[in-house]
Subunit: 352 residues, 2 copies
Amino acid sequence: MAAHQDPAQRVRRPPTILDVASQAGVSKSTVSNVVRGLPGVSDATRRRVRTAIEQLGYRPNVLARQLVQQRTSILGVVVGDLANPFFAEMAKSVERHAAARGYTAMFCNTEGDSQSELAGVETLLEYRVAGIVFLAFSGESRTMQETLEHQVPVVFLSCKADWGDVVSVDDVRGGRLGTSHLITAGHRRIAYISIPELEDQSDIARWQGYCEALEQARIEPPIRISWSPPSDHALVSGVDRKLLEVFTGPDRATAAFGSNDVAAISLQEFADRVKLRVPQDLSIVGFDDVPMAGLARIGLTTVAQPRDELAKLGIATIADRIERKLKGPPRTTLVGVSLVTRQSTGPPPEGL
Amino acid sequence: MAAHQDPAQRVRRPPTILDVASQAGVSKSTVSNVVRGLPGVSDATRRRVRTAIEQLGYRPNVLARQLVQQRTSILGVVVGDLANPFFAEMAKSVERHAAARGYTAMFCNTEGDSQSELAGVETLLEYRVAGIVFLAFSGESRTMQETLEHQVPVVFLSCKADWGDVVSVDDVRGGRLGTSHLITAGHRRIAYISIPELEDQSDIARWQGYCEALEQARIEPPIRISWSPPSDHALVSGVDRKLLEVFTGPDRATAAFGSNDVAAISLQEFADRVKLRVPQDLSIVGFDDVPMAGLARIGLTTVAQPRDELAKLGIATIADRIERKLKGPPRTTLVGVSLVTRQSTGPPPEGL
DNA sequence: GCAGCAGGTTGGAACGTTACAGGTTTTTCG
DNA sequence: CGAAAAACCTGTAACGTTCCAACCTGCTGC
C-alpha cells in the first residue's frame, strides 16, 4: 500500500543539466544558454529545453556555477547581536537590498566577541563570499585586516574601522546632538553609558561627540559608565552599586546619554526599578531610534539613524566594489542623524 | 611610492590545494587528508603541509568540497520577519545551534508573503541546502510541499504544516492557558487579536485554544480581530474604528488575547493612545514572551515559549534527518508553555 | 556553383575539491 | 633473509557548471 512507502524519506538526487540535455535532445551547452537566457538559441529549441526543465524540475546548482565562475553572489553579513532590535532591523534591510541586487545574504552572529567574529569571517571566506558587510566590528582591526585585505571587498555599515569602505552616520555629530539636547535642557551632570559588548569605534566616536559637547559648554568632567544590563530584564539586580552611586549619590548625574537605545532603555528600566522618575529625576537620551523607542510607554528621546538608507548605501557600495564599478581607495560615506524628542528628557530637578 | 599602490583594490586569487601541495612537495591528496585531519599521514609530512598552508594562507573552498561531496552544510532558515523580536531571538538561537553542529545558516526573510517565501525557498534549493528550517510558514502548503518533498529535509520550528517534522509548543494549550487566565480573573468578553501577516497554522491553533477555553466557560461568542498595527508606532491612527468599537463600544470587550506579543504590545499601545488603562479598563495577554514584554513599563502577561529549547530541538531534528539518524514518517515534537503573569492583566472593571 | 557568412549547436577543458584504487616504501615477524 | 603487513603517499576520476573554440548548416550574392 502507498501508505507504507514513507514518502518523507526518499530523497532523490536533483536532476542535472545533463539530464535536461538528453531529455530535450540537445547538448548541455545549449541548456546552459537557455537557462542563462543567452541569445543564439532558436525559439524551437528554447521551447523544447524549457519544457524539459519543467518536466524534470531542474534547478541549476549554484555551487557548481560559482565554482567555475570563480565568484559567488553570496554576501557575508557580520552582525553583533541579532536579538538587538537595531541589528535586527538593519539585518532585515540589508537582506532586502542585497536580494534586490541579486545577492544572497549569509549572516554571522558574533555576540560582540572578537573571537567568534574572526571565526565567522573565516567561515564566510571559506564560502568565497563576494563581499563582507560588517554591521558591527569589534575593532580587532589588525588581525581582521590581515585576513581580509586583498581577499574580498568589505564595507563597515553603521560601524567603523580605519580601513575598508565605511557607510555610517556621523557618530560624533550624533553624540554632540544628543548631549547638547540635554545641556540645553539645563543638565550639568550628564553620564555617558554604554554596553561593554557593543563598545566599538562607533561608540568611541559617540563618546567623543559627547565630550566635545560638554567641553563646549565648559562642563567637566565627562562621566563614563560601562554597564552590562542583566539579560533577563525581569531580574535587574536591584542594587547595581555603580549605577546607584552615579545616579543617586552625592553630586549625582541628572541625565544620561546612552551609546545606543538598548543601553538607554536598560537604564530606563533600572531607573523604573529603583524608583527614579524619568524624566523628572533622570533624563535619558538614546541612539538609534529602534521601533520600541517610539512606544508611548517607552517614549525615548534618541538620535535616529536612517536605517534603510544606510543599508541601501552600504549594499550599493559593496556591490559596486564587487562589480569593479567603484575603484580607488576606501571611501567613507556619512549620512545625517536627527534627534527625535520624546518623553524621556526634560529639565533637571530644581536646584541641580 | 607604496602609497600609490591602492592596496584596497588588488584582489588576488586565493591559493588552492594544488599550490599548497607543490609548496609542501606532496600530492594534493595528502594535503586534503591533512586538512580534513584524516589519519595515515606521517607527522613530518603533516607538519610540512601545515606550514605550507600557514605560509600561503590557504583556506579550503567549501563550494568545491560540497560539489564533490554532493551535500552542503548550509541550513536554510525561512523567517517571517527578522524585525519581530520573537523571530530575531529564534533566528539567533537557531544560528547558534546550527553552528554548533557544523552547519551554516542562510536566512531568508519573507515578510509573511507566500510569494517571497516561495522565491526564498527556491534560492535555498539552488544552493542545495542540506535542509530547511521554517520559522514561519504561510501555509501555502501544497505548492511548497510539491517543491520540497523528496528534495530536502524540512522542519517547521515554532510553526506548523501538515507534513514534515514539526517542533513547536502546544499552541492549543497555550491559547487555552492565556484565555483561562483572563476568564479566571473574571472576564466575560474577551477578544482574540492577531496580525494578518502572521496568521498561520500556529495562529489557528492558538485561536482554537482560545475558543475551547471560552466554550468550557460557556462564554459565547468568540471575537476575532485581525489588525495591522501601523508600522510606525508613533503614528497609531488614533481612530482605528474597528478597535475602538470592540473595546469602547456597547457590550465592549474587557480583555484581549494577542496571538503573539507584537500584536499584544501594539494593542497596548493603542490602548495607551486612546486612554484606555491597562489593566483597569482592558486586560491584555500575549504569546511568546519576547524580552521586551518583561520591561517594567510594558509588563505584559504572556504565554512563554522556551525559545532556546525549541531551537535546539529543531536543529537536532533536522540534523538527524540530514544525517539519516532519524528515519520514518514526519514527527511532531511539542514542548511545554508557561504563563508569565505581569501587570497587563487584572479583574474586569466593576459591573462588566 | 561556390566562397563567405551568420545563426545555431556542440564537445572538451576548466573550476577546486574528495574518493578511492592503486603504488611505494618501511616495518614486522617467522 | 624474505615475504607479508602496515604505513604512507599518489594519480585519476568524478561533481555540475560555464566558457570558448570549433563545427555544422543553410543561405546570400556574385
